[in-house]
């Protein structure tokens, strides 16, 4: 008999009595209906408490803010996506201004440029599928256009979040976006920059992923 059948048979023919399957009441996870402003305040407080950086801006001003932030950090290269709104806005902006870092478009399979991505890219910028106020989390569904490593390998990750897409809780976000119907290859909640406390419980940032997480909130 295969391992699969052996295991399943043992589980199906349990020697004990019937196991109870109690109903699950998820109402304990519910939070009051916060306004967008309240959600944004909480989101900012929570993500800042784990070393994330938040800048409130607008559709017309975020590129300026970004340029200033990246300049102050001496960033040389900025990784953008091919087709997302964020990527296109930056590509358009770059043609008319010179205070942005060199743009690099993630448009070929990682195998062809792994060394370059790991060793030379300073910043990756992605859009988000919303955020979660209660835990200060960003929701990302990486895609063919915004691949998984964009938000992981460069030392700085910038995420663009629309304040109107903030949810109170993970539970609410997951239900509203109907995750049970379809999940992408990879879905992520990101709450702050990469960190570790494995050496004597002392926090250190950027152990494997980004050292800095900058959130540009568009109000």
């Amino acid at each position: 008999m295969s391992a699969r059948d052996t295991i399943l048979q043992r589980l199906r023919h349990r020697s004990g009595g019937e196991l109870t399957a109690p109903a699950c009441d998820f109402s304990v996870l519910q939070r009051p209906d916060w306004s967008t402003a309240e959600k944004l305040d909480l989101f900012q407080k929570m993500i800042e408490s784990v070393h994330g950086e938040v800048h409130r801006t607008s559709e017309s001003a975020w590129v300026d803010i970004l340029a200033g932030l990246l300049k102050s950090r001496g960033a040389q290269t900025l990784l953008v996506s091919r087709e997302s709104q964020v990527g296109r806005t930056l590509k358009d902006a770059a043609s008319s201004r010179d205070d942005l870092p060199d743009l690099l478009v993630y448009d070929e399979a990682i195998e062809h440029w792994q060394q370059e991505l790991f060793n030379t890219v300073d910043v990756g910028i992605t859009s988000t599928r919303g955020g979660i106020a209660e835990t200060g989390s960003l929701i990302l569904w990486p895609s063919a256009d915004e691949p998984r490593l964009m938000s992981l390998v460069p030392p700085i990750h910038v995420a663009v979040l629309y304040a109107s897409e903030l949810y109170s809780t993970f539970h609410q976000a997951m239900l509203a976006q109907r995750w049970h119907e379809r999940m992408p290859t990879n879905a992520l909640l990101i709450s702050g920059p990469s960190k570790t406390a494995d050496i004597e419980q002392t926090l250190a940032y950027g152990v494997h992923g980004p050292k800095e997480l900058i959130v540009l909130v568009i109000e």
Partner: protein
């Protein structure tokens, strides 16, 4: 450190708990490291649950897990079907050895020479690194704590913070000796050096091996909780990803995950959420530009289906591996994780390991507890750990006729003299005449009572019998 503590982790005799515990108790460095860490974790957990209706949340956690276990075989089949539809290959392993072979076969088929690993307690249970290395495949841990422990040729001393037994100085020395990093007490510097060393390894690894925190049957999704990003690296950069998990980790729906996640990270490290919550539902699609081309899931039984047979012990399988029970355990805090000599230390290890290794090997585990009950009070899924400890103590001496012993190696601690003493005690207490006669005799000859009672009197004075029994004194008062 004593000789016992320095033995290779793969040769540890679990039965030698007492010498290891004694050695740890006499090691001020170990006691200080654990005390400091556990105090911090306990207060962070309390703060993280502030404002929550924690009892109701724990009820939800327990119910989610109970519901999943009640439907376990169906859920596993559903999970397999969904994952297969999503392009993830599913493997089943009856025991650790079979699970190791599956991983090796996947590596061999891909001609893989190097494996990079994200944190996985099941792979520790399988001793996967050791297995692969013996067969010429390099297996490198990438979680910083696991990396440190691997460099030191040790095993994790805590399931969430593997290197908690070491302080900065010890880690600095270790990194210096093994990797040439400069000696430094600057944690940022040490972390940055590890980042550099491991980035090279990620890029060159042929296979990434990770654990799984929750496997969602409804969508065919593998969920991983982590702070460092090494889990994301492990599951994204190498061309092949192998996830290994115990069969009990499956839950019906993604909604269930929200409840368990709220409990897991707050219970474990006092975080509202970890930096990354990584949900994987398939390999790289044709138009995607990164991610592994192959994803496998190895479902490992390794004793779980036998725990599943018992109506009481099945509760052990609810565990979501947060480590709160060890953080709050007065015994664990004093002896540290290595004293147990088992993959899972602390209270959860004491109820889980006897099934995995048998009660003959693990005979001292259920007794390595003061039954203070803290573990049961903090468990996010309400596993009645103290009750299960008592049950396993009974099994270890075959002591309860109402619950026939089931666990392999039961009765290993049975001692005929002790059994007779308890039998006599039982007889005496169920017959008033016997009792009065016995206590009367004992009071009369109390001077003959031994002053030393083995372990009990090592740190305490022996209790002294009163010159008169309670019955005698009551009689005097009534006269």
């Amino acid at each position: 450190m004593t000789d016992t503590a320095e033995k290779s982790p793969h040769q540890i005799d679990v039965k030698e708990f007492h010498p290891r515990a004694r050695a740890a108790l006499h090691n001020p460095q170990i006691r200080q490291n654990f005390r400091k860490a556990m105090d911090g974790l306990m207060s962070k957990r309390t703060a993280a649950f502030e404002g929550w209706d924690l009892e109701t949340l724990r009820d939800l956690g327990a119910n989610i897990r109970k519901r999943a276990l009640a439907n376990l075989p169906d859920l596993l089949e559903q999970l397999e079907q969904k994952l297969t539809e999503n392009g993830i290959k599913v493997h089943w392993a009856v025991d650790a050895d079979e699970a190791c072979k599956i991983v090796r076969d996947i590596c061999v088929a891909r001609d893989a020479k190097s494996v990079i690993k994200g944190k996985s307690m099941v792979s520790e249970e399988m001793e996967l690194n050791h297995y692969l290395q013996e067969r010429g495949i390099e297996a490198l841990e990438s979680d910083l704590g696991e990396y440190i422990v691997q460099l030191a040729d040790e095993t994790p001393s805590h399931i969430i913070m593997p290197a908690i037994h070491k302080n900065t100085e010890e880690i600095s020395q270790l990194l210096h000796d093994k990797t040439g990093t400069n000696l430094s007490h600057d944690v940022n510097y040490l972390t940055a050096s590890a980042r550099l060393q491991l980035r090279e390894k990620f890029m060159n690894a042929d296979v990434g091996v990770s654990g799984v925190n929750f496997a969602v049957a409804e969508t065919g999704t593998l969920c991983l909780v982590e702070n460092e990003g090494n889990g994301r690296m492990t599951t994204t950069v190498p061309p092949c990803h192998i996830a290994v998990t115990g069969i009990e980790k499956v839950v019906p729906s993604i909604e269930d995950v929200t409840g368990l996640l709220a409990l897991l990270t707050r219970s474990a490290t006092g975080q509202h959420i970890t930096t990354y919550f990584n949900m994987i539902s398939g390999p790289r699609k044709a138009d995607e530009l990164d991610g592994p081309e192959e994803v496998h899931l190895v479902l490992v039984d390794n004793g779980r289906s036998s725990i599943y047979q018992d109506d009481q012990l099945v509760d052990t399988l609810r565990c979501i591996r947060c480590g709160a029970c060890m953080n709050h355990c007065p015994v664990y805090t004093r002896v540290g994780g290595h004293a147990y000599g088992t993959t899972y230390p602390g209270p959860i290890g004491k109820i889980l390991m006897p099934h995995l290794i048998g009660l003959d090997e693990g005979r001292h585990l259920p007794s390595a507890s003061s039954l203070c009950g803290a573990c049961g009070e903090v468990c996010p899924v309400k596993i009645p750990i103290p009750d299960l400890l008592v049950r396993l103590r009974q099994e270890s001496v075959d002591g309860d006729k109402l619950h026939p012993a089931r666990v392999r190696g039961h009765g290993a601690k049975r001692n005929t003299v002790e059994a007779m003493i308890w039998k006599g005690w039982g007889l005496m207490h169920s017959r008033p005449g016997f009792y009065r006669f016995g206590t009367g005799i004992a009071a009369k000859f109390r001077k003959l009572q031994p002053g030393s009672l083995g372990g009990w009197t090592q740190y305490r004075t022996a209790p002294k019998l009163a010159p008169k029994t309670l019955h005698q004194r009551m009689k005097e008062r009534q006269q």
